[in-house]
């Protein structure tokens, strides 16, 4: 079991407040959090992330990029913990070939091969999201937690990204706004509404219309 919340009230930094939340997430699950924007998906995600002591990769809503650094450097940041500070600084000033060889295929897979040394701040919203995903993939770990990681990418790219995340991480927990994509790639759907969990079921048992009530006033 990776994550466990038992009848807890959650609220963070002015985010939405959730009451009486109980969830357990086991290794190997692919979990989608769905619900209206502002329902509390981000709150739940950040609590899950802060409770877990192992290695998780994080894709925050604003991508969490350093805008003045290149795509290469932003992706490389996913491996900062594997190297010494001196080696990291060397790569900051003068990227090593072996690191470029490690990072280029990840970037190419997500369509950023020709942007490797462009500044993150100069990229489009979708390209920035993909950069953050590359970083998470390089970082690896037991689980990835993503907050709307494909909100700015087109359908085709979204599928490539979802497949890449599923192939890299054993456990995937994503807040999503695209219900069809959630149903397609997840094993389990959690619906949030009115400050609580309104739905928690295997994705295979659900159809699109089962989720409609989450979005009705």
């Amino acid at each position: 079991m990776l994550f466990r919340l038992n009848n807890e009230d959650l609220g963070y930094d002015g985010g939405a407040v959730l009451r009486g939340i109980s969830i357990t997430v086991s290794a190997g699950e692919r979990l989608a959090l769905v619900g209206e924007s502002g329902a509390g998906k981000s709150t739940l995600l950040s609590v899950l992330q802060s409770r877990y002591n192992g290695n998780t990769a994080l894709i925050p809503q604003e991508s969490g990029l350093v805008r003045s650094l290149s795509v290469f450097h932003n992706v490389y940041m996913g491996s900062l913990h594997r190297h010494s500070a001196a080696y990291n600084l060397l790569n900051l000033v003068w990227p090593r070939q072996q690191e470029i060889r490690r990072i280029r295929p990840i970037a190419e897979r997500l369509g950023l091969g020709d942007k490797l040394f462009d500044r993150a701040g100069e990229l489009s919203g979708g390209q920035q999201q993909r950069t953050a995903i590359c970083r998470a993939i390089l970082q690896g770990g037991d689980a990835v937690l993503g907050d709307e990681p494909v909100s700015a990418t087109d359908q085709h790219q979204s599928r490539v990204i979802m497949a890449a995340l599923a192939a890299t991480f054993e456990t995937v927990i994503l807040a999503m706004h695209d219900v069809d994509l959630a149903l397609e790639f997840s094993t389990r759907i959690i619906g949030i509404k009115d400050g609580g969990i309104a739905l928690d079921a295997p994705a295979g048992d659900l159809t699109r219309s089962d989720l409609d009530f989450l979005y009705r006033a």
Partner: protein, 506 residues
């Protein structure tokens, strides 16, 4: 007669705290003006002014030909001092959250470069190190504060995504520094421009920079040569961005120390004597620590010094600061439209820019020196010098700021535009700049003491000249406390009025 309605209506306008604060400061300045000596004491200021103006339009570059080395040395002192100050400031900014560090930085930047130079002169003589340290120490205090604020206010979303186990050093250089690097670079290059001014002014007290020759030219009434020197200085500053390339800075900084000249040899015994004997108050030096007479002598010494010198110095400093502050504000508000696209065409703007560039590039010390020669010793030259220099700096920032205001297509023009559309929008920023400048103006009033205006700096300078270093240190301590108090008050007012605290460039 039927009673007319008793509906409570508000018939008087309500003024915002920003307006009330402004009116309060103006009122204080008017009261100060009543107590300040602003007379013109020279017999015939106009003929001297004509000669000076004539000199300005007939610059004489012939004597300047041999001054290549002087210009290089002016740059070298600025480079060495600012580089040392910026590195020191950067290191201090990393521990700026510690109270003692903050107070240390506030104290060292409360003392102007010129006074640091006068202090180090006592220890090191007229050596290059005196000039470099005089710039580096206060600049370290200023840079530490600005760097720390920049790092603190930066939005750093990347920090949250770093993998667990990332070392502090890697996190700092990857996730913290890169996004603020541009700000830090810009601020440091602005500091270098200030450093050039400081370096030039240090010449007035004997270091081998531009000011040394300016002082000679002015005091001999050789205004054409003075004009040539000033023009060279303006060109130096105006072309900064062409020769101060980021890639060359490293090389410059490595070369600079070799251009500083040798100066007098440093005598360790001087330093030791300064630190262990000279700055110890006379009663303590003469009497035993355990005798009660010593301590009563000491309190009498301090009391007399405070009443006779510190207090009158503080009063004069306060009068001058408050008048100059309000004059600076009025001037800035009057000047900024000159460079704003909202008000004038390219012709006027070019002239406006020229005037503002010259006024803010001329060190306030030199402006005061010139006006003092014209009008004789009173507060007038000091007020005019401080408000012209600072007003030009704030006016420049305001002009740029006003260009960013978006107007509706049918907005009014001219004075109506100024009063109804622009001023209300930029006033908060204006006050933020002005309050930020408050502390700077007070620090500058001290250096005008060197020119004979009876501020705290005057008494410090006199004590140093009489080699009564114990008194000088006491008075400098008073100066520091006074300056830090204004800094704290300014920050309090800015936060009360919710003015932007990011006024670093002002």
């Amino acid at each position: 007669m039927p009673a007319f309605s008793a509906i409570p209506t508000r018939s008087t306008p309500r003024y915002s705290p920003v307006v009330k604060t402004s009116v309060g400061f103006v009122a204080v300045a008017v009261v100060c003006l009543a107590f300040a000596d602003i007379s013109i004491t020279t017999l015939d200021p106009w003929s001297e002014m004509r000669r000076m103006a004539w000199g300005m339009v007939t610059p004489d570059f012939s004597a300047v030909a041999g001054l290549g080395m002087v210009i290089l040395q002016t740059i070298a002192f600025a480079l060495s001092g600012v580089a040392l100050g910026a590195v020191g400031g950067f290191l201090l900014s990393q521990i700026f959250h510690l109270g003692p560090v903050r107070w240390f930085c506030a104290s060292v930047r409360a003392i102007h470069e010129l006074f640091w130079a006068l202090i180090f002169m006592q220890m090191l003589g007229l050596s290059p190190l005196t000039g470099v340290l005089a710039i580096a120490i206060p600049y370290a205090g200023i840079c530490a504060k600005v760097y720390a604020e920049t790092l603190e206010e930066a939005q750093l979303p990347a920090l949250r995504t770093l993998p667990r186990g990332t070392s502090i050093i890697s996190a700092f250089f990857f996730a913290r520094l890169p996004d603020v690097w541009v700000h830090i670079k810009n601020y440091t290059s602005y500091r270098f421009e200030c450093g050039l001014r400081s370096s030039a002014v240090l010449g007035f007290i004997g270091l081998p920079t531009l000011g040394f020759h300016l002082e000679t030219a002015f005091s001999e009434g050789n205004y054409s040569e003075a004009a040539a020197l000033m023009i060279i200085f303006y060109i130096l500053i105006a072309t900064l961005r062409f020769w101060l390339r980021p890639k060359l800075v490293g090389i410059y900084v490595l070369i600079a120390p070799f251009l500083l000249g040798s100066g007098a040899a440093i005598d360790m015994s001087n330093i030791v004597r300064f630190l262990t004997v000279d700055i110890v108050p006379v009663p303590l030096r003469r009497g035993g620590f355990l005798e009660s007479q010593t301590w009563s002598n000491l309190s009498e010494w301090a009391g007399t010094l405070f009443m006779d010198q510190a207090l009158p110095g503080m009063v004069a400093t306060l009068l001058l600061t408050q008048i100059a502050l309000v004059a600076t504000g009025i001037l800035a508000l009057a000047l900024f439209p000159l460079i704003s696209e909202k008000f004038f065409g390219p012709m006027v703007r070019t002239v406006g820019h020229g005037f503002l560039v010259v006024m803010r590039s001329t060190p306030e010390f030199i402006l005061a020196y010139v006006f003092l020669q014209l009008w004789g010793p009173s507060m007038l030259p000091a007020i005019v010098a401080l408000s012209l220099h600072n007003g030009a700096i704030i006016g420049h920032l305001m002009g740029r700021f006003s260009d960013e205001v978006r107007l509706r297509p049918d907005s009014p023009r001219g004075i109506n535009l100024y009063g109804f559309e622009i001023l209300p929008r930029v006033y908060g920023q204006f006050l933020a700049f002005l309050f930020y400048r408050w502390e700077v103006i007070m620090r500058e009033t001290a250096i005008l003491g060197i020119l004979g205006i009876a501020t705290l700096g005057f008494f410090v300078d006199s004590a140093l000249a009489d080699i009564r270093l114990d008194r000088a240190v006491f008075l400098i301590a008073v100066m520091v406390v006074f300056n830090v108090a204004v800094d704290v008050l300014s920050r309090y007012i800015r936060s009360r009025l919710r003015l932007s605290t990011q006024a670093g460039q002002a």
